[in-house]
């Protein structure tokens, strides 16, 4: 048997490695959690890594999953070996092509990191709802349950498809397997060659479409022939399971890892059996072993080949003695007689009896588990077996939740822990930015690849993009680790951020007698009194040993800033004893050299220094014997929060969402807005402080703040009578608010500390220009004081909207109805959304494409969209990624229909409600703030007039009356949506005459999924799938939209010209037809400090890379060209803009010559484009004279 490497990789990498080596064409589209497989393939091809035939696979990113599978379909037809990777909605978009590929008996293997399909909500986590949605396509479905299996069965899929001609979908659980790091045995190229049948490859090539042997595929057939022809493939499906079995046997002989179509683990005489597939089966396997050791006759049957379902193999694999069988589905099919695997098992047993394969008639019950990655634990398996032992077990169950409505759920013992004592288990609570996960991955590699121990790592990430928390779960042990679930009892718990102690129960999983490592700014002798009482109680009750280190101080001393990862990693090795200490230190240092060597000797040296200083600064805390005396942990939300927020949101915030029962939730995914204000995250170490004496009251800081945490008001001096002593204000310098007080206030607990406000502040102290009207200062010392000031500020009256001028400064007095989102610190998108809500928030419907905007806009537990004092605010919904334009268009259709209906009712009821009121209601056309207020007053009057009327028309009008007030429909999304996957719909909507407004937040890359190129990516930028720098120019979406000649089009960049941004939004909203605004949005995926985002925007505009314009088709009526340029000719060299961003500089680092060529191209393209715009801006469209009357 060949000597194979032991590697620590995650499931995605394990699978992609096989797929890349066995493919010639790889067409993909990014979607979580499968994106990494495509990215790795792209990276490998970029580095010249070859497949087993010595060729570098061609990896292409398409505009959607529909595009990816179609490209694959074509590549297969033309005779290459192709693959793709996807998940969830992506897989659903592939369905039509999958029918075709299967119908044409095409050898093809694809890999799916199985993920929830969006229903009442989107979820990126794992379950089988996507793969179960394609079980009817004719694809073979092959399931893996662990990282090792995922690698192994990936090969089985690629090998078996070539022999069987049935296309294979190989799947494994999203995140749980795709992102779990495990120590596995790597398959060699020779393993791949040994399994993949060359004659199968040859036959596939001979079937290729070629004019040398022309054939036709994809004909249309009629009732006379289709049915018979469709049955012609049956033999292939009948032989497929046998081929898979033979392939698995060959694989087993070669690697020593045998697999079967159905793998049984447990007592051969088991009377109770669980049937399931995926990673949960590994948990069941582990639990079965534990139960058998306690004398129970139980077993688990793991389904590998789910389609084609081999009844004979199933009947043979199921123990004869099985009396009760629980079939576990990780999907939900509402309204069906059962979930899919359950139905298959019932039908298979029935057929087995009819065929005489089995005489028994076991009881079969159904249990649903693990939706959206819900934990599935050994305790749940124990509970299931206990239920199966009951005289009359429930026939339908759920496990893993508390269903207090339908009573479907099975209770389980949350404290049960079956893991062997010799498995080291450790949990680490960290911040995304402190490097905890990276260090833990390092530790896994050290232990997994340098010792005989098995290793497993799983990382729970945040859905927040700023101040994100991570929880790492690490296991090390002498045997392969099957526990594909979070750690329930950990002998080692580390908390890398002291502030977490106030927010989460970090010791929840601490095992009695275990170790607690705390990164603490307080020394060992003083830390005890600083701990919350709950933490003290747990430490005492579980007799934990406590160690502290001031990791930040050590890291800073070593010159590493806030990256405390190396310090904490060293502490782990020093305390946990998983390796001898000296050996561990040596290995850490070696790992540091490997990891950071490329970044420079200095980084290595600093990390080594941190290691050396750690041990001297690590101290054990003398835990007092006395009763706990600390302060209680503060509540997750203020007592003044609404009831729902206190009852539901607060639990989710405290990491206890798992404990909420079914009854806590809305039945249809409808959630309240205005909840982000209750989540005080305190993530900024520094926040802005205001010097009112030098402030020029320009409100630029307010405009650019991505999180609406710095706000301005103008109020009458009397309003400040009761102001806190430290509350600041100044005489208003604005002519329209003369005699009033101007005040600028920061929300200290919501600010993310990005510093973009300071960067844009133009007011400097004349004697000491280093000091600006806004400077950053440490948050903690001023938190309490500023919290009081913020509360007072919120209570001050909002500006009278009718006094606000339509400019960048004045509009910043308007209340933002989008605040405190989870967007990145310094986000370049959110200022636009915030502005939108300031201008139109009380009349706004938002259709939001999936992406960053939908995550920071709509990811639980809190929502940043909020309401004004009248209770009005944006109504928001997300349908999908690809359909947002059409979805929002539907809003418009509905609003128009309701308004039309309401108007006709007003006219019909005019005699009853008064002709004057009716006329005013129907003729209202002024939709500025004053006009809006007047129409709302009329609607109130209308309702009063309707109140005494009992007829049906009056009731209908009462219901529809709000439609008489104009609503704004805005379609929001990123460039991935607008330029790529949603372009078809966007184009169609633009071609209409309806009043839909489109805001494209153009970050020039797929930001949410991690920086893949889109058609908006500019020439010369490096991005995933354009590693060497994109060689084609950015698509000119604006020019395309202008070509319709009837739509309003604007291109904006608030950092360059905020006034023009305001103008464009106002004009777009008032435009009697479709309007689109393309907004430059700086992004962390550009690779520089976001505090300089606005400055980069200005450079983008000044260099001609991002010209500003507004195109209004009505202008020709005034004799003007429709296109108006709002920026001048390029006045700085593009290189001055491009060089500041890593996305461009990466190309320079990789290949300076190519960089120069691309930069020249970029400069030329920018110049040409500007020249084109300049010419267009001079074109006055002929204004035809109105028809003369005869």
């Amino acid at each position: 048997m060949p000597d194979r490497r032991k590697i620590t990789v995650d499931g995605n990498e394990a699978v992609a490695s096989v797929a890349h080596r066995l493919s010639e064409v790889i067409a993909i589209y990014p979607i979580t959690p499968s994106s990494n497989m495509g990215e790795l393939s792209d990276e490998w091809s970029a580095k010249g890594r070859t497949n087993i035939w010595g060729q570098v696979p061609d990896v292409v990113e398409m505009q959607s999953e529909g595009g990816a599978i179609a490209a694959v379909h074509g590549a297969l037809q033309a005779g290459t070996l192709a693959t793709t990777f996807t998940a969830s909605q992506g897989l659903l978009l592939m369905i039509p092509s999958m029918y075709k590929i299967a119908g044409e008996l095409t050898p093809f293997a694809m890999h799916v990191a199985a993920r929830t399909v969006a229903t009442h909500a989107l979820s990126i986590f794992g379950d089988h709802s996507d793969v179960m949605g394609v079980r009817q396509t004719g694809f073979a479905l092959l399931a893996s349950g662990s990282v090792q299996e995922a690698q192994d069965l990936a090969l089985v899929a690629h090998a078996a498809t070539l022999r069987s001609r049935i296309p294979f979908l190989h799947f494994f659980d999203g995140f749980r397997t795709s992102h779990e790091i495990a120590k596995i045995e790597e398959l060699t190229d020779d393993d791949l060659r040994a399994l993949v049948p060359e004659d199968g490859v040859r036959e596939h090539r001979l079937r290729a479409l070629t004019p040398d042997r022309p054939v036709l595929r994809g004909s249309a057939q009629n009732p006379d022939t289709y049915f018979q022809a469709r049955e012609a493939c049956n033999l292939f499906y009948e032989t497929c399971p046998g081929i898979v079995r033979e392939t698995m046997e060959a694989f087993g002989r070669r690697t020593g890892r045998p697999y079967g179509l159905f793998d049984y683990a447990g007592d051969p005489e088991a009377d109770r059996v669980i049937v399931m597939m995926g990673s949960g089966a590994e948990v069941a396997h582990e639990t079965v072993d534990w139960l058998r050791a306690r004398g129970e006759k139980v077993g688990v049957l793991k389904v590998r080949l789910y389609r084609p379902f081999d009844v004979r193999a199933f009947a043979a694999a199921l123990p004869r003695a099985a009396k009760t069988i629980a079939v576990l589905d990780r999907t939900k099919e509402p309204g069906a007689t059962g979930d899919p695997l359950f139905l298959d098992v019932v039908a298979a047993l029935r057929e087995a009896r009819d065929l005489g394969l089995r005489a028994d008639d076991p009881r079969v019950v159904s249990a649903r588990y693990g939706l959206s990655g819900k934990e599935f634990t050994p305790a749940m398996v124990v509970a299931l077996f206990q239920e199966l032992a009951a005289p009359r077990p429930r026939t339908r169950m759920t496990i893993g939740i508390m269903d207090d409505i339908g009573k479907s759920s099975l209770p389980w013992d949350r404290d049960l822990d079956i893991e062997p004592a010799d498995t080291t288990r450790a949990i680490f609570w960290g911040l995304g930015s402190d490097g905890t996960v990276g260090a833990n991955k390092n530790s896994i590699a050290i232990i997994g690849e340098r010792t005989p121990l098995h290793a497993q790592g799983y990382f729970v990430y945040d859905s927040k993009k700023s101040g994100a928390m991570t929880v790492s779960h690490l296991r090390f042990g002498p045997r392969p680790i099957r526990s594909s679930c979070l750690i329930r009892r950990a002998g080692f718990v580390a908390c890398h951020q002291f502030a977490f102690l106030d927010r989460y129960d970090v010791l929840e999983a601490a095992a009695p007698g275990g170790v607690f490592l705390l990164n603490s700014p307080f020394p060992a002798e003083a830390v005890w009194d600083e701990l919350p009482r709950e933490v003290q109680e747990t430490i005492l009750a579980r007799k934990l040993r406590v160690f502290v280190i001031d990791a930040l101080a050590v890291a800073q001393d070593a010159g590493m800033g806030s990256r405390i990862n190396t310090v904490m990693q060293t502490c782990f090795f020093a305390i946990s004893g998983v390796l001898p200490k000296d050996e561990a230190i040596r290995e850490i240092k070696e790992a540091i050299r490997e990891t950071y060597g490329k970044k420079g000797e200095d980084v290595v040296r600093k990390n080594w220094a941190a290691v050396d200083r750690t041990l001297a600064n690590l101290h054990e805390v003398r835990v007092p014997a006395a009763a706990p005396s600390g302060r209680p942990r503060p509540p997750a939300v203020a007592d003044t929060a609404p009831e729902f927020v206190r009852r539901v949101t607060a639990r989710i915030l405290a990491n206890q969402g798992d404990l909420l029962p079914v009854s806590a939730f809305p039945v249809d995914g409808t959630w309240p807005t205005a909840t982000a204000q209750w989540e005080k995250r305190n993530i900024a170490t520094e926040i802005p402080v205001w010097d009112e004496t030098i402030c020029v009251q320009c409100n630029r800081c307010v405009f650019v703040c991505p999180h609406a945490t710095i706000r301005a008001k103008v109020v009458a001096p009397a309003e400040l009578a009761a102001a806190p002593a430290s509350f600041q204000s100044a005489d208003s310098r604005l002519s329209e608010y003369k005699g009033q007080k101007y005040t600028l206030q920061v929300a200290p607990e919501d600010c993310t500390g990005c510093g973009i406000c300071v960067e844009v502040c133009p007011a400097r102290d004349k004697s000491n220009p280093r000091h600006k009207a806004i400077d950053m200062a440490p948050q903690r010392p001023i938190r309490e004081q500023q919290r009081g000031n913020w509360d007072f500020f919120l209570r001050l009256p909002e500006v009278d909207r009718t006094t606000v001028r339509p400019d960048a400064r004045s509009t910043q007095f308007l209340q933002p109805l989008f605040e405190f989102s989870g967007a990145c610190a310094g986000c370049g998108e959110t200022p636009y959304i915030k502005l939108l809500t300031q201008l139109f928030g009380d009349r706004l419907l938002i259709a939001n494409a999936t992406g960053c905007t939908s995550i920071y806009g709509g990811n639980l537990p809190t929502t940043p969209y909020t309401v004004n004092s009248a209770g009005r605010g944006p109504a928001w919904a997300n349908s999908l990624f690809e359909d947002n334009a059409e979805f929002g268009f539907g809003f418009r259709l509905a609003l128009d229909a309701r308004r039309t209906h309401a108007l006709s009712l007003v006219k019909a009821l005019a005699p009853k409600i008064g002709e004057g009121l009716a006329g005013a209601l129907t003729e209202a056309s002024n939709w500025d703030d004053a006009g809006m207020a007047a129409q709302r007053d009329r609607v109130v009057a209308l309702r009063t007039a309707l109140a005494p009327l009992k007829d049906a028309e009056a009731r209908r009008l009462d219901l529809l009356a709000d439609a008489l007030v104009k609503k704004s429909v805005w379609l929001i999304g990123g460039d991935g949506w607008a330029y790529d996957i949603g372009f078809g719909g966007l184009d169609h909507v633009m071609a209409s005459n309806r009043e839909v407004r489109i805001l494209v937040l153009d970050t020039e890359v797929y930001s949410n999924t991690g920086g893949q190129q889109s058609k908006a990516t500019p020439l010369g930028a490096s991005a995933k799938f354009a590693t060497a720098g994109k060689s084609s120019p950015k698509k000119d979406l604006g020019l395309m939209a202008m070509s319709y000649s009837h739509a309003y089009v604007a291109r904006v960049a608030f950092g360059a010209n905020d006034r023009q941004t305001v103008q464009a939004l106002l004009e777009a909203d008032a435009f009697p037809g479709p309007a689109i605004i393309i907004a430059y949005s700086h992004c962390i995926a550009h690779g520089y400090d976001m505090a300089f985002g606005a400055k980069q925007q200005k450079l983008a505009v000044d260099s001609g890379i991002w010209p500003l314009y507004r195109f209004d088709p009505r202008r020709p009526l005034k004799g003007e060209p429709p296109l108006h340029l709002d920026s001048g000719p390029p006045r700085v060299r593009p290189i001055e803009y491009l060089r500041n961003e890593a996305r461009f500089r990466m190309v320079e680092a990789l290949d300076p010559a190519r960089f120069r060529t691309l930069m020249k191209d970029a400069q030329r393209t920018a110049a040409q484009r500007w020249d084109l715009y300049r010419q267009l801006a001079g074109v006055t469209v002929a204004n035809p004279e109105p028809d003369k009357e005869e």
Binding site: T32, A46, I124, K598, K599, D602, Y1088
Partner: protein, 338 residues
């Protein structure tokens, strides 16, 4: 008869004294090829700064890595970072590329003022194929706690450390602002400098009076700056055993002639090439050759150091008295209303 233009600089046999000085010009392989075709006797690369080596790796960490592995859907936002050698690695790769591109000696350049891990890059540069290394001691002397002696010792230590780490020849580029330049130059030589380049030009930012900000400003040299170089070349020529190179203010063949006459073994050009393009070096070289023919010079060796303090007809004109004299004449001229 064609004059012999060859010279020796840092132990390297060069076809002539003219070469591009450290500048971004050599970032472009095409420009480098043109320089070689124009007759450049060596290529001096742009400087890799100590700060660049240290800060780029740290900045890379703090900005690019800050968002890695913290958000569920994206554990990274860029293609594999290992593929992009920011900072020093990129420089080393560029040395390799240039080595493959040109046949003339390749002189890499490091710019720094303190000992530290960064000087390990000298070795990496040597491995990458550089023929020699130019160490630019760009030191402002802005620390009030450091005496002139301490500052000089620090720089001498640095030169020694760099010299110890490499086997290729080492040139040291200095500024004119040392209180005892001749002594310092000798100490540099003792510390291992094979040659001294005079002088680097200090970055002198401007002030933006509207924005109250420091405005970066790059001012190219003009021929008037050559005078300072000429004086010190002339002074040091007799005191230094190793080589001397002029850098700053050489725009024409006459400037080059003066530099060689004052004592330069090599003459570096930057501003004129940035303004007029790499081909300009060929023009200057052609004119130099013609001038030598016209003036019956047979070789550079013959010309070298002829106007140095040691050998020139009127040494005092070079030294302090010359200064007084020039000032006096100027006053007289003004008084006479000329």
């Amino acid at each position: 008869m064609t004059p012999d233009l060859s010279t020796t600089w840092l132990g390297l046999k060069l076809s002539n004294p003219l070469m591009p000085g450290a500048s971004p010009l050599v970032d472009d392989l095409d420009a480098v090829r043109k320089l070689e075709d124009a007759g450049a006797s060596a290529i001096v690369m742009h400087s890799l700064f100590e700060e660049q080596i240290i800060r780029e790796s740290t900045a890379q960490d703090s900005i690019l890595d800050a968002y890695t592995e913290s958000y569920t859907e994206a554990q990274s936002y860029f293609p594999d970072r290992g593929m992009f050698p920011f900072g020093p690695e990129g420089y080393v790769r560029h040395v390799e590329r240039l080595r493959e591109t040109v046949r003339v000696p390749l002189i890499a350049s490091l710019n720094g003022t303190s000992r530290g891990g960064w000087i390990d890059f000298a070795r990496a540069i040597e491995r990458a194929g550089a023929s020699a290394l130019e160490l630019n001691l760009y030191d402002l002397g802005a620390d009030p706690r450091e005496s002139a002696l301490d500052a000089e010792s620090r720089l001498i230590d640095l030169v020694r450390a760099v010299k110890d780490s490499i086997r290729i020849p080492l040139a040291v580029k200095i500024g004119p602002y040392f209180s005892s330049l001749a002594h310092f130059a000798r100490e540099l030589e003792r510390a291992g400098a094979d040659g001294i380049v005079m002088f680097n030009r200090f970055y002198q930012p401007d002030i933006d009076t509207e924005l109250l900000e420091i405005a970066p400003a790059l001012r190219l040299s003009d021929p008037s700056e050559l005078r300072l170089r000429l004086r010190w070349l002339a002074i040091l020529r007799g005191q230094i055993k190793g080589g001397l190179a002029a850098s700053g203010g050489v725009h024409s063949h006459l400037d080059a002639v003066k530099a060689v006459m004052a004592g330069a073994d090599a003459v570096q050009m930057v501003s004129a090439l940035l303004t007029l393009g790499p081909d300009h070096l060929g023009t200057v070289l052609g004119n130099l050759r013609q001038w030598m023919i016209d003036h019956d010079y047979t070789s550079i060796a013959q010309m070298k150091g002829s106007m140095s303090l040691e050998r020139c007809p009127d040494p005092k004109a070079v030294e302090r008295s010359n200064y007084a004299f020039v000032l006096q004449t100027w006053r007289q001229e003004r008084a006479q209303g000329r």
